[in-house]
Amino acid sequence: MDFALTDDQKMMQDTIGRTLERVCPLDRVRKAAADKELYAADVWAALAEVGAAGLIVPEEHGGVGQTLLDAALAAEMLGRSVAPVPFTASCVMAPLALMGSGSPAQQAEWLPRLAAGEAVAGVAVSEIASGARDGAGVAAASGKLSGKALFVLDAGGADLFVVADKAKGLHLVRGDAPGLTRSDLATIDATRRVGELAFDHVEAEPLAARDGAATLGRMIDAGRVVLAADILGAGGRMIEKAVSYAEERKQFGRVIGSFQAVKHLCAEMVAELEPCRSLIWYAAYAFDAAPEEASLMAAHAKAHTSETGTFVARTATEVHGGMGFTDLLGLHYWFKRIGFDRQMMGGPERVRADAAALQGWV
């Protein structure tokens, strides 16, 4: 029995973390936000160079052939650095779609490019994972898609989209397909790009080598785990920032971190967040090693880490006092990243409803 990371995993996570510290300081994030970059291409290239893009892609397709736990560890680092790069959809969910239901030709065409970070894939599954809003929904008929998809993850600069239709069928749509209208949805989080896709009889390739609905379920499970890990990283960084701010800021003649009113907030944050790490590790492990538990664990990891993330985000901001509220300090990038992650692939109430159904409680 071994509930721990391997040395390889620790090393991989450390490499990604150090790469991000080097290429993705807060100033770089600010620039990406100010210039409305689709994603930070230089940061993405540096990450792809250390294998971050192809973590779960099989080696035969140019990836590293690792598990979802490895992807979750990478996501934690991305959340830590609020990295403006396409990961959840492009490097986890889309590869899983291709690996699960793609034909050999589809896999050979796209997996190596995704694994190398040379292509970006957006994923349009919000209508299934979170529920349809504003009349969204895609219908498939005779190989063509019509309708609209909202909250398409990693849509910025995507070369390819994996689209779920209303019947849970999966399709590949090229980014430049005729009849496809792409628009960017401005969100609170300037570090990730979500889009809206309008389909007017758009040519699509079915991903139908194996049952699409089952693959879709796996994609959503993995997306939930990876978003939870992103929150874990962002929340952990917010706690570190709160602790170091409280150790420097003086009021009433002493550092505010010596006041129990302040340090107990820090204790509460870390006490809530550390068990999330254990839950995320297990959920990620179960995805590969205990598939019968995977959906339930992914749901719990997503919902519980989202709740905890919200608590950490507001509490860490409060510890920073008025400074936490300013753009100058930039803490809000983490605050908004956590807020974004919370809603994508299903907010806590939605995901817990899934968890109830999975246990036969509904």
């Binding site: 071994d2 509930f3 002493r254 010596s258 204790a267 590790w281 297990y282 817990r352 509904v362």
Partner: protein, 392 residues
């Protein structure tokens, strides 16, 4: 990550299952002390109690192996068998003596304690020394070969039926408070000891006040040196905090809550069919799972000798809080039935949820309050500065 046990531990697991099948019928069913001691004897023989205590002190003498302990606990829970006797002597004093006691003390006290023949209570807190335990004032002065003890303890669980006490007393009044304390062992039958039961909000007397008037204790009954009692006490507290945050209890309680939600009905509808109750149950389930996996992570860290850091310091705070929240769910789910008590008609589970809800609050406070835990987490875990001392 690999949660499979592997062949060696799978074989051990089978061995425990065989024991449960063979001897399960002999498990004590009521609360008789004689039956508990008999069961304890059986467990000692098979190495399912005091497993790692050396043979010369009456234990089974196995190498410490956290995984074996876990398998024993899991299999006993699965088979519905009671674990061996616990209590402050077995869980707290015995490991302390093994770490810091003299050879004579180990020989004299460990065997009868693990056999359940000698029951202990813990004399730590005082009316004026709770969170600030080191300010305790119960004092012992040397009088020829004895210590002469005067003072008062409070929150002393099981003092009313204990044979012995491990007790903190001030022996060096002139030294700084942490350096003036000694750790003594003595009989609760010693003249000059008066035990008054302390009835709590549960309606029962789980605790006592203990008064000492010229209590005479041989000087040899000290653990560690004079003035080193604080270090000895801290060794004991470490074992207590491990005992109080156990996530397996939360897992067992959660299963009972699901069962309750599936069987209790309001207006003929099961609670679990209501999205409101389901959502609350699911929030708790995530917490229970998180703490169980967290326990596995800490267990692995202990196995590999890795320091878990702040992750290890949160268990008492989070575990006790979670248990209380689980009981709180039960009471709310029962609604008006949840305020029934003391053998009332319609009472569920003998009033255990009500009792647990109240008693758990005691556990949140005892063994280092939630606020003291937050000091420990922030100071030792996050490296934050201590509250400045008042100039005296």
């Amino acid at each position: 990550m690999d949660l499979a046990y592997g062949p060696r531990y799978a074989a051990f697991q089978q061995q425990v299952r065989d024991f449960a099948a063979t001897y399960g019928a002999r498990a004590p069913r009521g609360g008789s002390m004689a039956a508990s001691r008999e069961w304890q004897q059986l467990l000692l023989e098979h190495g399912y109690a005091a497993r790692t205590i050396p043979k010369e002190y009456g234990g089974y003498g196995a190498e410490p192996d956290i995984l074996e302990s876990r398998i024993i606990a899991e299999e006993f829970i699965a088979a519905g068998l009671p674990m061996g006797m616990s209590g402050q002597g077995i869980s707290m004093l015995v490991p302390t003596l093994l770490e810091l006691g003299t050879e004579a003390q180990k020989k004299e006290w460990i065997e009868p304690t693990i056999r359940g023949e000698v029951l202990w209570c813990q004399g730590y807190s005082e009316p004026g020394a709770g969170s600030d335990l080191a300010s305790l004032t119960t004092h012992a002065v040397e009088d020829r070969d004895d210590f002469l003890i005067n003072g008062q303890k409070i929150w002393t669980s099981s003092a009313h039926f204990s044979d012995m006490i491990f007790c903190l007393v001030r022996t060096e009044p002139d030294k700084p408070k942490h350096h003036g304390i000694s750790y003594l062992l003595f009989s609760m039958k010693t003249p000059g000891i008066e035990v008054r039961p302390l009835v709590t909000m549960t309606g029962q007397a789980e605790f006592n006040e203990v008064f000492f008037t010229d209590v005479r204790v041989p000087r040899s009954q000290i653990v560690g040196e004079r003035g080193q009692g604080w270090q000895v006490a801290n060794a004991t507290l470490k074992y207590e905090r491990g005992m109080l945050g156990d996530p397996n209890q939360a897992g067992t309680r959660f299963k009972q809550l699901v069962e309750m939600a599936k069987t209790e009905t309001v207006d003929g509808h099961r609670l679990i069919d209501s999205p409101v109750w389901r959502d609350r149950l699911l929030k708790l389930q995530a917490r229970v799972l998180a703490m169980q996996f967290h326990g596995l992570r800490l267990l692995t860290a202990r196995l590999t000798g890795e320091n878990p850091g702040v992750a290890g310091l949160i268990v008492k705070l989070m575990g006790c809080e979670l248990n209380n929240q689980l009981a709180a769910f039960a009471i709310d789910a029962l609604g008006e039935l949840g305020v029934l008590y003391d053998g009332s008609p319609h009472l569920r589970a003998g009033g255990n949820w009500q009792r647990n809800y109240m008693f758990d609050l005691g556990l949140i406070i005892g063994g280092g309050t939630a606020q003291i835990q937050k000091n420990i987490i922030s100071e030792r875990g996050l490296g934050m500065p201590r509250e400045p001392k008042l100039a005296s």
